[in-house]
Amino acid sequence: MAMYQMQQHTRRRANDTEINMASCSRAQVISLYRMLMKESKKFPSYNYRTYALRRVKDGFRENLHVENPKTLDMLINQARENLAVIKRQVSIGLLYSVQRTVVEREPHL
């Protein structure tokens, strides 16, 4: 109950193209986006990192105008699962680290 009231508190005037639903989902979506981007930046491997960042951006952008609450909930749950996947993969990648790729190496003078 207290959680619901707290989410009501974060109501913002929706004046952009994002979903105009109940206040809880907008703040949730934005914080999910932020967390996904932050975790994706921690990938040690160049390929995984760029793919994850690109996919997160594209995924959020294509579902910008979804209005149906059921699809919204499904998408938010998917995003949460992907966040858990990314976190696990980041720690695995840090355990078994590989050499840096050519793109990432410091330029040889």
Partner: protein, 170 residues
């Protein structure tokens, strides 16, 4: 001095000279002797101090013996270097914020000003605003919490917020 007298005597045996030099070095702690061109352990350890390299710590006993050896002509430099970022000023914060914004490909650099609103003037999204704030976090190296990040809608506000957090005054 003992060594000079030996050289002058012309005792050509290198072994003997080396042994006597070694004996002189052992008795170094009690005398303040100035060696010029002798390649002993004493001068080898004194060399780092004269070139003024940084030390993390120098024990007391070590210092006193080397100070004795160094005498008057060597200068002992010792300084510490702490790692920190260069100090910020309002101007540099402003320049860096605008630089990061110009690098963002969804913003037209000609239309960018300090007071241009991200959503009204530049036509950006709330998702884009999140990306911009994350770029600012990377640039300045400190976290901006979600609640405050949502309110930053112009470059001027971002500059003010960073100056607030980093205690930068005019």
């Amino acid at each position: 001095m003992r060594i000079c007298s030996l050289v002058h005597c012309g005792s050509g045996l290198r072994n003997m000279a080396a042994r006597i030099i070694a004996r002189c070095v052992r008795s170094l702690n009690q005398r303040s002797v100035y060696f010029n061109r002798v390649n002993t352990a004493a001068t080898l350890t004194a060399a780092p101090l004269t070139h003024g390299r940084t030390f993390s710590h120098l024990t007391n006993g070590h210092k006193s013996s080397l100070a004795q050896i160094s005498g008057g002509s060597f200068q002992v430099f010792q300084w510490r270097q702490y790692g920190d970022l260069p100090p910020l000023s309002l101007e540099t914060i402003h320049d860096r914020v605008l630089y990061v914004l110009k690098l963002y490909d969804k913003i037209n650099p000609e239309r960018l000003q300090a007071t241009s609103h991200f959503m009204k003037d530049l036509g950006l999204d709330s998702l884009d605003q999140v990306e911009i704030i994350m770029a600012m976090e990377d640039e300045f190296g400190f976290e901006i919490p979600d609640a405050e990040a949502e309110k930053l809608m112009t470059p001027h506000e971002i500059v003010q917020y960073i100056a607030d957090k980093k205690d930068v005054y005019e």
